[in-house]
């Protein structure tokens, strides 16, 4: 079997951001469920958190190519 350990490493590194994004959207959904009128406020915060956490996964993706 041939291949690169980079791929395995990236798979492991993606676990953390995966959990993080899950937590962010879980909090967002339960927040909207409790207070539907707060949706527009929460949406911005959730997307900001999503972009910040997703950057960690993408860092791994970029290092994968180096």
């Amino acid at each position: 079997m041939e291949g690169s350990l980079n791929a395995v490493g990236y798979g492991l590194a993606a676990i953390g951001p995966g959990v993080g994004i899950g937590l962010i959207f879980a909090a967002y959904i339960s927040g909207v469920a409790r207070q539907p009128e707060a949706r527009s406020t929460l949406q911005g915060i959730a997307l900001l958190g999503f972009a910040l956490v997703e950057a960690l996964a993408l860092l791994g993706f970029v290092l994968f190519f180096l």
């Binding site: 041939e2 291949g3 690169s4 980079n6 791929a7 911005g44 997307l47 900001l48 999503f50 972009a51 910040l52 997703e54 950057a55 993408l58 860092l59 993706f61 970029v62 994968f64 190519f65 180096l66």
Partner: protein, 263 residues
């Protein structure tokens, strides 16, 4: 640089790697004029033309074009600058924030516009320069507003922490403000655009290979990666907006942190 298994000699599928981003000069004689460099100039022309044309005959009741320009301006002004920096100080930073937002957004959207299809910010040099500009601005306004000593005291010694923690906290805060902030800003934008473009490449080149080289079954299945590639492209549109938004939002947050009084 070879990350995937590359099958150089045999006729197997060779997935795209980082070399897909090394674009040659457009003309052999002009070394520096590559496609991203041309796109930077193009984006400046587009943005200038947009704002000049839409605000040339400005009226109280906006026309359709003026409404579009006011929408962009109002978005940056109200939801980013005023909410974060505060209604007292935000006016001075509006030109910087609006320029950053439109510049990054147009350059990101180049990634999905047909015939261009290359996000300028996937070359790290461009985000690095933008992050350096932001770094200079927020440190400069902080030092100018509070003075050198008070500014760095505010950076290194945030209030409300027991005294002994400062042994750990002060160096961490200093490094995070001076080094980590600009680094993460530049790398976040770069990595998002790089990864997005690479994802589209992987799907589209894979589907093309299946369609052209594969047998009857593979030809039929190639519909799936084509559809996924198109889906990813629309997802990229969201990411491109989000990254421009996040970059400007963080700029505003850093400026607000630098000029706020108590912290």
């Amino acid at each position: 640089m070879t990350a995937w298994v590359r099958v150089e000699e045999s006729e197997g599928f060779a997935p795209p790697d980082a070399r897909a981003f090394d674009l040659p000069p457009l003309f052999d004689s002009v070394e520096w004029l590559t496609k991203p460099a041309l796109q930077i100039v193009l984006s400046v022309v587009i943005i200038s033309a947009f704002f000049l044309l839409t605000t040339r005959r400005i009226s109280v009741v906006p026309g359709r074009l003026q409404f579009a320009a006011e929408g962009v301006y109002g978005f940056v002004r109200n939801t980013i600058a005023r909410d974060i920096i505060g209604s007292h100080d935000f006016r001075a930073f509006l030109p910087l924030l609006l320029t950053l937002f439109t510049f990054i957004y147009v350059n990101n959207v180049f990634g999905v516009i047909p015939l261009i299809q290359f996000p300028t910010m996937s070359h790290i040099a461009f985000p690095v320069v933008l992050a350096m500009v932001v770094w200079v601005v927020f440190n400069y306004v902080g030092i100018k507003r509070k003075g050198f000593v008070v500014y760095f005291k505010g950076v290194m010694f945030p209030p409300g922490v027991p005294g002994w923690v400062y042994v750990l906290l002060a160096p961490i805060e200093l490094v995070s403000t001076i080094i980590i902030r600009p680094l993460t800003m530049a790398v976040r934008l770069f990595a998002n655009m790089f990864a997005g473009h690479m994802l589209i490449l992987v799907f589209m080149l894979g589907a093309e290979y299946m369609l052209i080289e594969g047998g009857a079954v593979l030809k039929a299945i190639s519909v799936v990666p084509f559809a996924l590639g198109i889906g990813i492209t629309f997802f990229e549109l969201l990411i491109q907006f989000l990254q421009a938004y996040v970059f400007v939002l963080l700029t505003a947050l850093y400026i607000a942190g630098a000029i706020s009084e108590e912290h």
